[in-house]
């Protein structure tokens, strides 16, 4: 049975923030979910329920409350694991995708790393990476002597695979790239790249920040080794991210953050470490946030990930045709198939000014380099205006966006 189409007007009522108004009574049109999503009531309730009924230090106490807290936390891990088709012992809770990627970059460059670096070894990234999947590798390259290489981006905003055979080779030790671009909406060919990288023995890391929230993901089918995403972009709380990894790989990786609850035996001089996932979760964990994330996952699952993907594609397609109908508006990125991030330029008006006019109409978009500065340079611009869509956005929201851009053109007198 195909999932029913989702009804955003109805879903919207689950999100208290979307009822508020901005700029003197204007309806809020929230088109910035790519930066962070809004939260349904069930997520806030789940967090609160944890604090009001089960809060204690997981894994550390022998009393009833500690048992219940542990159960809640480990239960959340199972829910998240199931959501991506993984085993729960492969799911590490971090504070964010940013921490997850840093964890990987530090662990895989430490002295005990399963990868022993030889100067000249390569890490392959793409030109469309978010700073979170770029700077940790720059820092890692400084420590190891590794060389960063980049898969270029075509004018259409796709990965340019023409010379991929010269980019992936014997020296490639790690390939790390984004599943979906947070700027262009491009969806990259994960399996193809992963297989290619595996053929030379490289470890494949996927930044799934912009895919896991928006489509059904089966981590086994993707064929990658490590995958990261953030809770706050998928209806979950701030302060929680995920690192998924093949268990045997995780097991071979040394810890990153060290401290309590990730140890086996500790003396003053040295320590031995637990198996994953605990090895990577030092300290009292972000229990309430993990529980909130599990509630978000359950909400998403109930709505249906395929229905969400279809809904977003519908909205972004309408937005593209609406914007392209305006003279002097240029879309960056592919026409489709694509994710829901939509970047555009308005001739003669700086994105900051476009965003300001939209904001004045209650339309919240993001302007700037979107933490992908090198990609901006690739397209010869300093910034773009970006709208991102989610399950609670409606066609009215798309109309408000287009109307706002028209108003900006009138206001700055740039419409031909």
């Amino acid at each position: 049975m195909p999932e029913p189409k989702l009804n955003a007007e109805i879903l919207k009522k689950d999100f208290p923030l979307l009822e508020r108004t901005v700029r003197g009574g204007k309806r809020l049109v929230y088109l910035d979910s790519g930066a962070t999503s809004q939260k349904p009531r069930v997520v806030l309730d789940a967090e609160r329920d944890f604090y009001e009924n089960r809060n204690a230090a997981a894994h550390r106490g022998a009393h009833q409350l500690a048992e219940e807290a542990t159960e809640a936390f480990e239960g959340a891990r199972e829910v998240v694991a199931r959501f991506i088709g993984a085993n729960s012992r492969e799911v590490v809770f971090t504070k964010s995708a940013t921490e997850s990627i840093n964890l990987v970059a530090y662990s895989l460059s430490s002295a005990d790393s399963p990868i022993q670096w030889i100067p000249g070894d390569e890490v392959l990234l793409t030109e469309m990476e978010h700073h979170a999947n770029l700077i940790p590798w720059q820092e890692m390259a400084k420590r190891t002597g590794a060389i960063l290489r980049f898969i270029p981006v075509t004018d259409e905003g796709l990965l340019d695979l023409t010379n991929i055979d010269t980019l992936i080779g014997e020296r490639t030790r790690i390939l790390s790239f984004t599943h979906a671009s947070n700027v262009l909406g491009t969806t990259n060919p994960v399996r193809f790249l992963a297989d290619l990288a595996h053929s030379v023995g490289a470890v494949v890391v996927l930044d799934a920040c912009q895919s896991v929230p928006h489509e059904a993901i089966d981590v086994v089918a993707l064929g990658v080794d490590l995958m990261t995403f953030s809770g706050h972009k998928m209806l979950g709380p701030t302060g929680v991210g995920v690192l998924w990894g093949r268990f045997d790989l995780l097991e071979s990786m040394p810890p990153f953050l060290t401290g309590g609850s990730m140890i086996e035996i500790v003396t003053l001089e040295s320590a031995t470490y637990s198996l994953p996932p605990k090895r990577f979760e030092a300290g009292v964990p972000n229990m309430a946030q993990a529980v909130g994330l599990a509630a978000a996952v359950n909400y998403l699952t109930a709505v249906g990930m395929d229905a969400i993907a279809e809904h977003e594609l519908d909205l972004v397609t309408k937005a593209i045709s609406g914007l392209e109908a305006l003279p002097g508006v240029r879309i960056l990125g592919p026409a489709g198939p694509r994710g829901g991030a939509l970047s555009f330029l308005v001739d003669g008006i700086h994105p900051h000014d476009v965003g300001q006019v939209l904001d004045d109409d209650g339309v919240a978009v993001r302007v700037g380099h979107h933490c992908a500065w090198p990609l901006m340079r690739r397209f010869g611009v300093a910034a773009t205006t970006r709208a991102t869509f989610y399950l609670y956005n409606t066609e009215d929201d798309v109309r408000a966006l287009i109307a706002g851009v028209e108003r900006a053109q009138k206001f700055f007198g740039s419409a031909p």
């Binding site: 894994h59 550390r60 106490g61 022998a62 009393h63 500690a66 048992e67 542990t70 159960e71 140890i263 086996e264 035996i265 637990s274």
Partner: protein, 150 residues
């Protein structure tokens, strides 16, 4: 009330009078393992000797709570003299009892005194205590077999 359910007489007896809690000399290819419970620091040292597929000797020493001590004592009593296969079966059965949340089945009856630990399964934090000695045995057996295979 709950307390009595958890600390059955059998458990307290084994705790006060542990079986085989005296390490046999390490000769004739006996294997020694040392296991620690990382949450509480409890430790067990276990020596096992397997000859011709029979666990001829299981002795141990250790520091720990009533549950870990009693459970190790029960384990030592049940497995010494048993076949290797039966010892592994018992270990699997005990593990499944510990994951049962207190519901026992007929199959658990092979565990004899070990059945008394059903109540412990209701306390997740104590399950690790009950498993300490059993996991040490499992480890010892797999090392022993590893050596045999080499």
């Amino acid at each position: 009330m709950n307390l009595e359910k958890m600390y059955q007489e059998i458990i307290l007896d084994h705790y006060k009078h542990p079986q085989q809690k005296k390490l046999a000399p390490l000769d004739n290819g006996a294997v020694e393992v040392h296991h620690v419970n990382p949450t509480c620091g409890d430790e067990v040292t276990l020596r096992a000797q397997v000859i011709d597929g029979v666990v001829v000797s299981v002795t141990w020493d250790g520091l720990g709570c009533s549950i870990s001590q009693a459970s190790t004592s029960v384990m030592a009593g049940l497995t010494q003299g048993a076949t290797l296969q039966h010892s592994l079966d018992l270990t699997a059965q005990f593990l499944s009892l510990m994951q049962s949340k207190g519901v026992t089945t007929e199959a658990d009856e092979v565990l004899e005194d070990g059945l008394a630990f059903a109540g412990v399964a209701l306390y997740p934090a104590r399950v690790k205590c009950a498993l300490l000695g059993w996991m040490a045995l499992k480890d010892a057996i797999s090392r022993e077999s590893g050596e045999l295979n080499e």
